[in-house]
Amino acid sequence: MKKITYFPGCSAHGTSKEFDETVKMVMKSLDVQLEEIPDWNCCGATSAHTLSEPLSYALPLRNLVLAEKLDNTTMAIPCASCYQRMKVTKAHLDKNPDLSKDIGTTIVDEGTYQGKVAVKSMLQYCYEDIGLDAIKARVTKSLAGMKLACYYGCLLTRPKAITQFDSPEYPMSMDHIVEALGAKATEFDYKTECCGASFSISDTEVVISLTGKILEMARESGAHALVVACPLCQSNLDMRQPQIEKQTGKKYNLPVFYFTQLMALAFGMPEKELMFRKNIVPVEGALAQIGKIEPEPEKVKKPKKAVEAESEAE
């Protein structure tokens, strides 16, 4: 059995409880033990780096130091924002050891930072460390029939120099994972467009505009649902969807799943435990697609006249 350090992040106790729960279920069934950092604190999210540079490094630093005490070589983080703040801090401290000393000795009782734990997003851990074969081997209920638009948002793969994971423009790791579960990943051009993040509260208009475009593109891609790996993306796409539908007059009806919810589903875990009831947009329609496999579209022969008309037009 493998053991890794786990940083759940604040939203795991609130808006994204279902992400936290299903991560734990999936990891257990993949034989990975999660060791939570004792008494971890908020990473500071967007607000810390918006207002105060030193604070934006100090808050994640305490978690990094606490993580090093656990003796695991890898730390996995489900929330994209926590993940990115930790990675940014780590990169910054590795580049400026003086600052690490400055912040480290003045504020952290817990010890000094050594930089020996690898920080990964939960998506990255599933893709790189567990691997598609191990995921495929665990599937007992294929999701075949479901078409999914995989949405990564901005922070999981950008900036490339910091995250060093997948493509910053058109990542495919989550697409490969849902395909390993049997589902079909659609071609979705807005997979790394920003959802508007914390503007959800401070300037909702921004989120409605950005998230609206993402929903529109997901629908155009032919998806039955969206799949995400970030609590704030989930909440913007799901909770704000009825509002967006009202404003634009369009019906999207796209439930938004965490990728671990779908992994747990394909691993044959009981639907009741996957907390689909927390989704605002009803999930039943999308889940009903499982097993409905479309026949390959037959090539329709054009009538002779139409072909002639076309060539004339050319």
Binding site: C10, S11, H13, G14, T15, K17, D39, W40, N41, C42, G44, A45, T46, S47, A48, H49, T50, L51, S52, E53, P54, L55, A58, L59, R62, D102, I103, T106, I107, V108, D109, E110, C154, L155, R158, P159, K160, P168, E169, T192, E193, C194, G196, A197, S198, F199, I201, S202, D203, T204, V206, L210, S235, M239, Q243, R277, K278, I280
Partner: protein, 190 residues
Amino acid sequence: MITLGLQEKNTLLTDVNKRSGANVLECYQCGKCVSTCPVSNFMDFPPREIMQMVKLGLKEQVYLANSTWFCLTCSACSGRCPREIEIPAVMEAIRHLALEENYTNKSAKVKAIRKFHYIFLDMIRRYGRSYELRLMVEHNIRTRDLFKDVMLAPTALLKGKIPLLVKPVKSAKAIRRMFKMAEKLEQKHK
């Protein structure tokens, strides 16, 4: 280039470059950042214009622009910048410098955004963790928009999307000390 002649006197340019670690002079104004930026249409000046204004040393206009407050740090622009300039770092440097030198954009939108971040940090100072319900309620009160998202509340609360309570961090002292240290380091900049 005119900007080169101004370089010596342009303290804005040197401050921004130093703080951000980027070199704004490398920008050749192609505008790829603007077409990439998901929020450029909300900004007084889109990123390309901010870059040029920094080169020209238009300090007050740059510090008072709402652009840096709307930047989402999504890094879409820097990923596509042909000069590989870390534009979000430039935006962040400008925001921090403006805060330190007490330049305040007074538009209602920027006020709301700034308040959100202050409330968020205040919450972390108090609990060590984010407390979503309090964040939403306090933001509504402090922006005098009491009924914003009230329609969402019943579903969100019933579905357990937003918990009523937060579990605070035990080492409150460590958290307080971090805030103090940050304040001290910020004072040093001033």
